[in-house]
């Protein structure tokens, strides 16, 4: 492998990993704080991508579509939390898996009803439709660089919010002991709803960023969902830092797997996961003891 090809794989792997982080961080927080295992999280990624497709056709600009789409995702998150997720807080994992599985089926049917089974392309914004040279032979599309940059900004912002704000403090407290937070007189329902819709918006945002790269197609959320589970398992449930490390690991393993072991690439990621589990059954940065 030449140096420039290697460099291309590294930047692509990191960019993919960052995108996965956006999805996985919501998943891990919703589980860590709300205690709900949300299979519909991948559907939010799909919804985001379809919103980007539909809105960019209406408005003629993907960036505008993202600006309009994000508040829509927040609202979707609030509605789903109120109607479905809020009923699951006191229920066991099986009920959570099944109800959110039902939501996956529902969202898939909604997508099929509205947009059909076709694959749709989304145009990259003109200002970012160029590529940058990478070594002698390779080029890297500016949209991928923009995606990576946007993800880094979101990750850094998330870190600030979680470490430095009152809301972040409550989130951290909720992740370690939600009952105690409630006993201290904090409105947990509001906290949960805010957190859930933030996770929804993050997954949707990832879908919007990915739309020009991967095209928009039925079932696109499921692959991302499963990979996000792998990320969360590798990183440790409830740990944002773990999700970040896990996402980069999975992104790189997947990208290099496709080049080095074509045909076995998709299985490669799971081999990494199995290895981590053998070594640390609760993930790299997971809690030493099971909290719940």
């Amino acid at each position: 492998m030449s140096l420039s090809l290697f460099a291309l794989q590294v930047v692509n792997g990191v960019e993919y990993g960052l995108l996965l982080f956006l999805v996985a961080s919501g998943l891990t927080l919703v589980f860590g704080v709300l205690g709900v295992l949300n299979f519909a999280h991948g559907s939010f990624y799909m919804l985001g991508a379809y919103l980007a497709f539909w809105l960019s056709q209406r408005t003629g600009s993907l960036l505008l579509a993202i600006l309009v789409g994000l508040p829509v995702m927040v609202v979707i998150g609030l509605v789903v939390e109120r109607l479905a997720i809020a009923r699951l807080y006191a229920r066991d994992h099986l009920s959570q898996v099944l109800l959110t599985y039902g939501l996956v089926l529902l969202f898939n049917e909604l997508q099929r009803g509205l947009f059909g089974n076709d694959v749709h392309g989304v145009a990259t914004p003109k200002a970012l439709a160029w590529t940058m040279p990478l070594g002698e032979a390779q080029t890297w599309p500016a949209w991928r660089a923009f995606t990576a940059l946007a993800c880094i900004c979101v990750a850094a912002g998330m870190r600030q919010v979680i470490l430095k704000t009152r809301f972040g403090m409550r989130v951290r407290a909720g992740a370690s002991n939600a009952e105690m937070v409630e006993a201290l007189g904090i409105d947990v329902r509001k906290l949960f709803a805010t957190l859930f819709s933030a996770g929804t918006a993050l997954a949707g945002f990832a879908g919007m960023l990915a739309a020009p790269l991967t095209t928009v197609y039925p079932g696109m959320g499921e692959g991302v969902l499963i990979l996000s589970f792998v990320v969360v398992v590798i990183g440790g449930i409830g740990s944002i830092k773990g999700a970040f490390v896990g996402a980069l690991l999975v992104g790189l393993a997947d990208t290099f797997g496709k080049v080095l072991l074509p045909g076995f690439a998709s299985a490669m990621v799971y081999a990494v996961m199995a290895a981590v589990l053998l070594w640390r059954p609760r993930g790299l940065l997971g809690p030493a003891f099971e909290g719940r």
Binding site: V97, L98, G102, L106, E222
Partner: protein
């Protein structure tokens, strides 16, 4: 006593369908009974041991692929050979996946079984030699003829039902239920709980393999979608719909779901939305499933 009578009548009725020789019903109920086998074997894990596994479709699909490989690859069709080999392969896969997955507990366990299922899915989906996403035809089936296949499936369902109800009444089954109730207490009583869970996982995986073998026999066709996580999710739905923690509940759920699937597809193209609504309604309003409506009946 009354419950036994009902089950006996149901079994006899399902058997009597074979005598009619009607093409549609043989195929339809054959498929539904395979769903029953799959659902009650998963219930051994979900309802009795308290393990929510999403790997069940993997063992189902794997055994189906093993049968296809044996008949297409080396021309081995005789069920006396292919059945034990296919089921053993599923059991072996369950041993490996179970051993790895059971290092994790609770929600980790769910996610890990899901990941292994998808890994197997991609192995078959991405490999042209294994048929790729189109799947493979079974060139010669172990049981020829629709009626013969139906009778075999019917007998398999009865055997699996009797076997599992025997297993669950035995001390082994009691230990599994103890693990579901309070694993730590069972461990402190001296039971090696992880080994018990692994044993349950392997038994359930082997029975799922049997169901996959029968499916490939009935349809003469395998494809990777049978291995995917959506399929596993659907089996979980079946178990919950019928009522976890009982053996007849999931069987009932499988029959009901087969009817909904068939007639729903006739009424609307969006029958998945019907299933989705049903699942959500059952989770919210009927957590013990249909079997929860029957009061006071014994569970196995």
């Amino acid at each position: 006593m009354r419950q036994r009578l009902v089950l006996l009548v149901a079994a006899a009725a399902l058997g009597a369908v074979a005598l009619t020789g009607d093409r549609f019903w043989l195929q339809f109920l054959g498929k539904a009974m395979i769903g029953c086998i799959l659902a009650i074997s998963l219930d051994l894990l979900v309802g009795f041991t308290g393990l929510v596994s999403l790997a069940h479709s993997a063992f189902f699909g794997l055994a189906a692929y093993v049968l296809t490989g044996l008949t297409n690859g080396i021309g081995l069709t005789n069920p006396a050979a292919t059945l034990p080999i296919s089921v053993a392969c599923a059991a072996f896969a369950a041993l490996i996946i179970g051993w790895l997955s059971l290092r994790a507990t609770g929600v980790y366990f769910i996610m890990v079984t899901l990941a292994f299922t998808q890994m197997l899915f991609y192995v078959f989906n991405d490999s042209a030699a294994l048929g790729g996403s189109d799947g493979l035809y079974v060139q010669s089936r172990p049981v020829e003829g629709r009626m013969a296949a139906y009778v075999v499936i019917w007998a398999a369902l009865l055997l699996v039902y009797l076997l599992l109800s025997r297993v669950l009444r035995a001390p082994f089954g009691r230990v599994l239920e103890g693990i579901r109730g309070n694993e730590q207490r069972m461990r402190s009583l001296g039971y090696p709980t992880r080994r018990y869970k692994l044993a349950a996982f392997v038994v359930a995986g082997a029975v799922a393999g049997l169901a996959g073998y029968l499916d490939a026999t009935l349809y003469g066709f395998v494809n990777p979608a049978q291995l995917g996580w959506r399929q596993s999710g659907l089996v979980l739905v079946t178990v919950l719909l019928g009522g976890r923690g009982t053996l007849y509940g999931p069987a009932l759920g499988a029959l009901l779901l087969a009817f909904i699937e068939h007639y729903g597809a006739r009424v609307t193209d969006h029958w998945n939305a019907l299933i989705a609504a049903l699942v959500i309604a059952v989770v919210l309003f009927l957590p013990r499933g249909l079997a929860g409506l029957v009061q006071g009946a014994p569970r196995v």
